[in-house]
């Protein structure tokens, strides 16, 4: 069974399918509360949700029955009482396995649990990095939104925050280095556009099949690294816009990736034609995949609202800021509607059991 978990401004909407063609709605849960993202751990069948209540604050709730019932979340997801920053929202959840889970929060920081989310503690070295003072809030907040453990090097962790940039640790979080060399910061004065840190990286995706390859959608600019982020090559010049939020890798072909170009403002598709762009040649060329997607449209797709499964042919899934969910069962060649008229969509997660 394939499960589609759609985090929205007013709850988590659930769909499932046996054949990736007919989708059954299981209805919303955490109703009325913003759910920024979710994550599934196949190790133990736990579904995690970033529930950011306007009343009760942020929590990482867990369900073992695909969202029918939830616990109240673990403890420790706070900065210290004397800390000038507060944890106000959870933006990312990354289960690694054997009870190890990372979570990214606003104000930007990284938490770790080694007991599957019962207790959380901050990975303090990240916010202690001297470049922390260069971090500022973007339009969505000052958030750590992307976490990845390198599939070829279990001690290597990547994170990205907005604005702040992408960072890497090679020792499981004890020391961090900014790896933004070559990534542009359009919002800074012309002579300061390549700083060490402070970039507004919107999303990155680590290739699961080629060591060192990372794809990155920046606040202006699409990049590829082949050396674990030590250097970056701009690969977005031929796109109709190199602004966007989301970027997705192919599960088997390291040279394929998917982005959704948006106008820098007002952050909807160029010419109001929603399209996923695919590269099959490591970013040299990009091809629009829009058959079945609406036009004109006046909505965008946020950083966690484009995802994929691991099937062949590849399944792609996206959710729009105007509450529509689309899926493709042929690697983007054609698209069908899964749902419409949902609240503003923050995230789409595909998980199989």
């Amino acid at each position: 069974m394939l499960h589609l978990l759609v985090g929205t401004a007013k709850g988590l909407f659930r769909f499932h399918s046996r054949d990736r063609r007919r989708w059954e709605s299981l209805g919303p849960v955490q109703v009325g509360t913003p759910v920024y993202t979710s994550a599934y751990s196949p190790d133990d069948g736990t579904l995690y949700a970033a529930v950011n209540s306007e009343f009760y604050g942020p929590s990482i709730r867990r369900s073992r029955d695909w969202g029918e019932t939830w616990d109240t979340g673990g403890v420790g997801l706070q900065y210290g009482a004397e800390d000038p920053e507060k944890v106000t929202r959870v933006w990312s959840i990354s289960p690694v396995g054997d009870g190890l889970v990372y979570a990214g929060v606003e104000a930007s920081g990284l938490f770790r649990s080694t007991d599957g989310g019962d207790t959380w503690s901050e990975v303090t070295a990240l916010r202690q990095h001297p470049t922390h003072e260069t971090w500022e809030p973007g339009y969505g907040g000052k958030c750590l939104h992307t976490i990845a453990v390198d599939p070829f090097h279990s001690e290597r962790i990547y994170i990205a925050c907005s604005a702040g940039g992408i960072y890497r640790s090679d020792d499981a979080g004890q020391r961090w280095m900014p790896i933004n060399q070559g990534i542009r910061a359009d919002f800074l004065p012309e002579d300061q556009r390549y700083p060490v840190s402070g970039q507004c990286v919107h999303k990155f995706a680590v290739s699961p099949v080629r060591a060192g390859r990372i794809w990155l959608q920046n606040h202006g600019g699409v990049y590829r690294s082949d050396d674990g982020g030590s250097s970056w090559q701009s690969v977005g010049d031929s796109l109709p816009s190199d602004f966007g939020f989301s970027i997705v890798t192919h599960p088997e072909d390291a040279d394929r990736a998917y982005v959704i170009p948006l106008e820098g403002w007002p952050r909807w598709s160029p010419d109001n034609a929603l399209a996923v762009y695919e590269t099959q040649d490591a970013g040299a060329t990009w091809t629009p995949r829009r058959q079945g997607l609406p036009a004109p449209t006046y909505s965008g797709v946020l950083r966690d609202a484009l995802t994929r499964d691991t099937a062949a042919p590849l399944g792609l899934y996206l959710g729009t800021t105007s509450g529509s969910v689309f899926h493709s069962a042929d690697a983007g060649q054609s698209w069908q509607v899964v749902a419409e008229h949902l609240p503003r969509i923050y995230s789409v997660v595909a998980a199989a059991d």
């Binding site: 306007e54 009343f55 009760y56 604050g57 929590s59 109240t72 706070q78 009482a81 004397e82 944890v87």
Partner: protein, 90 residues
């Protein structure tokens, strides 16, 4: 003893009794006692510095505590304490 009324959605999430009779003298005591009975509840109601979350209102003996009441706020014996969700959202 004081009588504490919690928001319905909070009691549903934690399976809590409502209202509760608690032997507490301050807001800090109250949060600690709630957390002892229902693990994690204090983190839902207050921030790391002990202040009540901004979109919650706390009424003690009919009077609303100032925004962001802290753990030292006193609760006279015999009071009714209401913790309510604020007007918020859209």
């Amino acid at each position: 003893m004081v009588t504490v009324y919690l928001p319905d959605d909070l009691t549903a999430e934690f399976g809590a009794n409502n209202p509760l009779s608690l032997d507490v003298q301050t807001l800090g005591d109250l949060l600690s006692e709630l957390d002892r009975r229902y693990a994690g509840m204090a983190g839902w109601l207050s921030e790391a510095d002990g202040q009540v979350r901004p979109n919650l209102g706390v009424f003690v003996a009919g009077r609303r505590l100032p925004p962001g009441p802290d753990s030292e706020s006193s609760i006279p014996s015999g009071s009714e304490v209401w913790i309510l969700r604020a007007i918020s959202g859209g």
